[in-house]
């Protein structure tokens, strides 16, 4: 056995040497003139292209960089590896290609860095295909309008701000308001509801402990088998943080282009913009507002435009993007938040106040919007949730007035009463995404007023009891309802069933 091993080794070595014999060719070469802070300045290589990968020779193998500043006298390139190994005077050669990453189903269940190298210690990843990191977004003719639902499993979102496959929906809010939780629940829901949607989670400069906790949780929930995690930590070079979303997008695009559906989460684009600002300033590009470079809008617009619903001709696949933006003290009019709000097809705004009041997910009904999702909402949910957003905002308005006096007419009292219960109903613990039937049943029962006499603190218990009852009594009908394909009319059998059960259940909780 050992002999055979040696023979193959000798063969491989011979092949390698033979390949080298043929490789002598006149190639352009440059030299490093300056290096520091992850940026190298290179003399020569006047034929290098924008974003081309350059190889820099060092004592211990070569280090890659990609060219970003092509100037008359020199090239500014950003290192993809350790800058301490690169010395001034080092030889630089062109690679002739732009950055690409491995893509394909082989990556599912893996944690990789933005260059596709495994970080989970589960051995090398061998994919058949590679995808360009920077790739132009699909054109007008290749697209179709967003019409299929991407269920998040979060009732407040699915009922009021539905997201469609191929949509870009921003999740925005201060730190510690549950932005990532919404994204994770959405990923978990894809596995629970067996939608077959592939998840790509891109961590941009996130604490690695947080990423590792997230991966463990996803594994526990059985979601990891259909998930790719692209992880970068705060100690990674800015170049990797900058590349991470594009690399993750390339991995998601593979599924989009192969007639599948993918969901990509960029957590978060604020750090991405900051990493790009660092790179730009080190490359001596002029700073603009908040010291961000002039093309920071393009940075995000070209990334998010790659999320799309493809036309039937191209296989009707989709890539849904959920970018996350962190605001400072709820200021959504800062530079990066306004940029990304204007790029995306809507936003889910998370509020600290709501979060502290115990309304979790802390989604602000007034500031959140989904610009295309209405077409994509499941018929079942759409038919029952029409009045939800309106009655909730009426409630909020009245609640503000009601604080001044207690003399209220009956109608106002009723609206307030219903609003409190609705708010209570929309609370949902983390890691517990709800199916379509659960959402439909809960909303139908509350809208019909069956819970109006149940004390607010017992609403969640009543809801749980209703769902248990429905599931144990009429499993088949609920399975049918969970497909969400049919409208739920007020006088349909299923609505009657829900109403009847709700009445019965509510009786037991009324005081």
């Amino acid at each position: 056995m050992a002999e055979l091993h040696v023979e193959t080794l000798a063969g491989e070595l011979e092949a390698a040497i033979a390949k080298l014999e043929a490789s002598g060719k006149l190639a352009s070469s440059g030299i490093v003139t300056r290096v520091g802070d992850g940026v190298v300045w290179i003399y020569g290589l006047r034929d290098a292209g924008y974003s081309e990968v350059l190889q820099i020779e060092t004592d211990e193998g070569s280090v890659e960089a990609f060219a970003l500043n092509l100037m008359e006298d020199e090239i500014g390139a950003v290192l993809l590896g350790d800058d301490s190994r690169v010395k001034a005077g080092a030889k630089v050669s062109r690679s002739g290609h732009v950055l690409d990453v491995p893509v394909g189903p082989e990556l599912l269940g893996r944690v990789v860095d933005p260059l596709g190298r495994p970080l989970d210690g589960k051995g090398p990843i061998k994919t058949k295909a590679r995808g360009l990191v920077e790739r132009p977004a699909i054109g007008v003719l290749g697209r179709k309008h967003v019409h299929e639902p991407m269920m998040t499993g979060i009732m407040a979102i699915d009922a009021m701000f539905p997201i469609g496959r191929g949509q870009r929906e921003l999740i925005i809010g201060d730190r510690q308001t549950g932005k990532t939780a919404v994204a994770i629940d959405t990923m978990i829901n894809q596995a629970r509801q067996k939608t077959g949607v592939v998840n790509v989670y891109v961590a941009v400069g996130q604490k690695l402990s947080k990423v590792s906790r997230l991966v463990d949780r996803l594994r526990e929930e059985g979601v990891m088998d259909q998930t790719i995690v692209v992880a970068t930590g705060p100690s990674d070079p800015a170049s990797l943080l900058y590349l991470a979303p594009y690399a993750g997008c390339a991995m998601g695009e593979y599924f989009r282009d192969n007639k599948e559906h993918a969901l990509i989460i960029y957590d978060d684009l604020t750090k991405h913009a900051v990493a790009y600002r660092q790179m730009s300033l080190l490359l001596r590009r002029p700073p603009g507002r908040e010291a961000f470079p002039g093309d920071v809008f393009y940075l995000h617009s070209r990334l998010l435009e790659r999320a799309a619903k493809l036309s039937d001709k191209l296989g009707a696949g989709s890539l849904t993007a959920l970018p996350i933006i962190e605001t400072q003290a709820g200021d959504i009019s800062a530079y990066i938040p306004t940029n990304v709000i204007s790029i995306t097809d809507g936003q889910i705004f998370m509020e600290t106040d709501l979060f502290n009041q115990g309304i979790r997910p802390a989604i602000s009904a007034g500031l959140s919007v989904s610009r295309v999702g209405g077409d994509a909402q499941t018929k079942a949910v759409k038919s029952v949730s029409g009045g939800l957003k309106l009655s909730l905002s009426q409630y909020r308005e009245l609640a503000a007035f009601a604080q001044f006096g207690s003399d209220l007419d009956k109608e106002t009292q009723a609206t307030l009463n219903r609003g409190v219960r609705m708010t209570e109903l929309l609370k949902q613990p983390q890691y517990q995404p709800m199916g379509i039937w659960e959402q439909v049943a809960s909303v139908t029962a509350t809208e019909a007023g069956h819970f109006d006499n149940v004390p607010v603190e017992k609403i969640k218990d009543t809801q749980a009891a209703l769902l248990t009852e429905l599931w144990s009594e009429s499993k088949e009908k609920m399975r049918e309802l969970n497909k969400g394909a049919e409208k739920v009319e007020k006088d349909s059998d299923i609505a009657k069933l829900i109403n009847k059960t709700a009445q019965k259940v509510a009786k037991g909780f009324e005081s």
Partner: protein, 124 residues
């Protein structure tokens, strides 16, 4: 004041050299320019730029590195490889660390067929 790019300075010098200006005087002027603008550290980059511009105008300066001294026939062969050029100046270097083979370097191109380079590639 806008900084004159290195390329522009190099172009002026290359043009003047080709027009038959005295190289000694030109270099003195260049040295003065570099000192005045605090660019002395970049002097070899300026020279490389001048070389590369001269090469595009048909006058190549080629660095040839070998382990042993070049034979006349090899010299001829190398000169022949730069067929499109009006004149080719060989700067020969002998460096035993390349072990064998030949390395030919112009201002911006490199042909590396030395044994040491092949060994390095094998290691990588």
């Amino acid at each position: 004041m806008l900084k004159t790019s290195r390329r522009t300075v190099a172009k002026v010098i290359a043009d003047q050299l080709l027009n038959g200006a005295s190289s000694e005087k030109l270099m003195q002027q260049l040295a003065g320019y570099l000192v005045k603008h605090g660019l002395t550290k970049q002097s070899d980059l300026y020279l490389r730029d001048i070389e590369s511009l001269l090469a595009t105008r048909g006058h190549s300066i080629v660095d040839v590195t070998t382990a042993r001294e070049l034979s006349d026939s090899l010299r001829k062969q190398i000169t022949k490889a730069f067929a499109g050029q009006q004149s080719v100046v060989l700067r020969e270097h002998i460096d035993e660390s390349v072990i064998g083979g030949i390395r030919i370097q112009t201002s911006d191109k490199l042909f590396d067929a030395t044994v040491s380079e092949k060994l390095r590639q094998l290691r990588a």
